[in-house]
Symmetry: C2
């Protein structure tokens, strides 16, 4: 061709995977999806591009600066930066067509033009579930969420993780009782107390609050003993007690859910229960699954009162961390193929027939069709990590028995197609 070669590359901050990694990534996504579905969440898919005025109706904040926003023709467009705003817009827009409580999951890419740094991505998958009520939503939903987190992370292969639980009303009410204004930001208050130490009575009270430790039962008892005279605090305490009780009913082991009074995720957004999920052996990674309860999902788009509770897994970042720290064992094969059919100097028709039979039996089968030496064909299977090859040469055609070779053990034995099907299926 009479043109220049453009260097093939992608944008900085974007993740792209090689086949083996991609297969492992998709397996994780499938596990998450299966868990979300098992709990009765329905799938949603919304446009990645939306009207900027709609997506940014709330406006302000760090997020807006990071948004990919541009114009095309008359349209002012933006790439979504999370899955929550599109959910709010969706529920408001399609309100009349939905049944409540509305349980949806959404697995999709979102975009944030973050500062370029290791482990931060500008395009990343979020895996979200939310339960949206109409006017009200039972607190027991807040207890079901941790059971979904638990089954999902178990399913992903994590053995040691902790779901941290708190209730915003506890903190809010506690600070209220001390006369501390919500406006200055509770994160800031906590940070200040943590950093500066304690001098006055308010500081002492906060320190006492934060230092409450023990089992969930002990923490709840200690909170009661504080005898905080504040309605919000007591509402939060009652809610947290209820949630802990019901989490137990959902069969989540006590070791996996602990009350942590210091977590205060998304203070401007969540209004009750909040969750974070920590990998016990890698707390430095931070929360791998977070969320909480909010009073009203879609106030920017509708006058309907839509309380909800939900969580989000940042899968791209989690996958990156898994690779960096080898957190769990990931699939290593660069293929889904279970058996590679290799013809050796025979009419190809016979090999096609065998591949047909394997595929009809539900086996992922591939045919090696290129003309080359046998060792090249075998090395193709090796390079991809295909577990079995089916060799068909003149001898095999004569005897009617094919050669099934395990690429793992090197073992090779003659057998009929139905036996091959059995053996390959068994191994998977």
């Amino acid at each position: 061709m009479d043109h220049q070669i453009t260097k093939p590359s992608i944008l900085p901050g974007f993740m792209e995977l090689l086949p083996a990694e991609q297969i492992a990534f998709n397996q994780m996504m499938d596990t998450i999806r299966a868990n979300f579905e098992r709990y009765g969440f329905i799938p949603l898919d919304t446009p990645l591009l939306e009207k900027a005025e709609v997506l940014l109706a709330k406006g302000g904040g760090e997020t807006e600066k990071q948004v990919y926003r541009f114009t095309k023709g008359d349209n002012d467009l933006a790439l979504r930066f999370d899955l929550t705003v599109p959910l709010a817009r969706y529920v408001a827009q399609h309100f009349a067509d939905l049944a409540f409580p509305f349980r949806r999951y959404h697995i999709g890419k979102v975009y944030r033009g973050e500062r370029n740094q290791k482990g931060r991505f500008r395009e990343f998958y979020q895996c979200d579930i939310d339960i949206i009520g109409l006017n009200k939503l039972s607190l027991i939903n807040d207890a079901e969420i941790p059971s979904i987190i638990y089954s999902t992370f178990k399913g992903l292969g994590f053995n040691s993780f902790t779901i941290r639980l708190n209730n915003r009303k506890l903190l809010n009410g506690f600070f209220e009782s001390l006369g501390i204004q919500d406006k200055i930001g509770l994160d800031a208050v906590l940070a200040e107390v943590n950093a500066m130490g304690v001098t006055d009575r308010t500081g002492e009270a906060i320190a006492e609050f934060i230092s409450i430790k023990g089992s969930n039962r002990e923490i709840l008892a200690s909170l009661k003993q504080l005898e905080v005279n504040n309605a919000q605090f007591n509402e939060g305490l009652e809610e947290l007690s209820q949630v802990v009780h019901y989490i137990n009913c959902f069969n989540v082991p006590e070791a996996n859910v602990v009350i942590d009074l210091t977590i205060a995720r998304g203070l401007d957004y969540y209004t009750g229960t909040v969750y974070e999920t920590i990998l016990n052996d890698h707390p430095g990674i931070g929360s791998v699954c977070s969320g909480g309860r909010y009073d009203n999902l879609a106030g920017y788009y509708t006058k309907q009162q839509l309380p909800g509770v939900g969580i989000s897994i940042g899968l791209t970042r989690l996958f990156y961390q898994i690779q960096e720290a080898k957190l769990i064992h990931l699939n290593q094969a660069a293929t889904l193929t279970e058996a590679l059919v290799i013809p050796m100097k025979i009419p190809i028709e016979a090999a096609i027939g065998v591949a047909n039979q394997l595929r009809e039996a539900g086996i992922i089968a591939e045919l090696y069709l290129e003309e080359t030496k046998l060792d090249k064909k075998i090395s193709y299977a090796n390079k991809l990590g295909i577990a079995y090859v089916v060799l068909i040469g003149e001898d095999e055609l004569k005897s009617g028995l094919l050669s099934l070779k395990s690429m793992v053990t090197g073992e090779q034995s003659p057998m009929g197609v139905s036996q091959i099907i059995e053996k390959v299926k068994d191994k998977q």
Copy 2:
């Protein structure tokens, strides 16, 4: 809240589905994925945003005008407009890490700022497979592709469709033999002959060529009888004959694959075999799955010669057409939930326990947790199309037998949890 309400809406030309539609859409996507995987294709996922200079390396054409392109910071960005250019970039970029032939599938959204009209979408899913060879690629791959189209469309529920088959070399060589320059565009030549009728000798020859009809065997025989003295034509004829022969070996019924000498899809891109897929009862929809063979995938990004063959299904448009013309029966339920557990004036713990058991048995189970009247709970199940509800009241708690009610038949009978599990599983 003290803010204005923004009208919730999405951009024109973007598809967004309600839950029942979304579930049906996802089922189609799952079917396509399962078929692609069964043939040994590996999944790829590339960024939706790429460097504009890379994505538009080829440049020119109608496509470039439609591209969503913008800048952010120092980056000149574009949203991908197909999955082929990202594949070319990917293969060139990761060449050393891939095994060839490289078989990949990719299901993802692409973006084209098309003129706004009914049935055209600016964001749509493409489902692509391609087999990429290194320097060469066996022609038998061209015959495997129709078997994937066949199994996929059968799997989707289509019963009457035709895969149209042609070879670009036939047309090229034929026109070459008549001294017609390729430059004016073969589509234009065909259109002219079709519209203007025939007056001279060249026109007669073209008309004769186009009028060749019959079974695949007859068409191949007629082409041979033309005795066109052109190397390219004869190469195309030989390839087409071979492809037809091997398609048979792949068990595709003859009725589903017909040679059609008039199809000339992507004349500037495809170089050999070309495919289109027509729904027999709705030919007006046009091709629902198209593709072909190309000499070199990634000439803009690498000097490696990478021939390939592939197809693409435009799923968003196909789904739209299915809905418009009721082409196949789609799932109607607005839920994946198989059983809804409904507590009636009992401590909720017992109901949670039942939901736990159903979920552990692999049943998609949901708990109705809101406090409301029974008929509202039942109407929730009805609205979503949930097949079974499990009713638990005081009587059920006393007897230990729950009430399983089929929402389809209205039948309600008392039974234990294990019997419920069996019954719900059987029905699915």
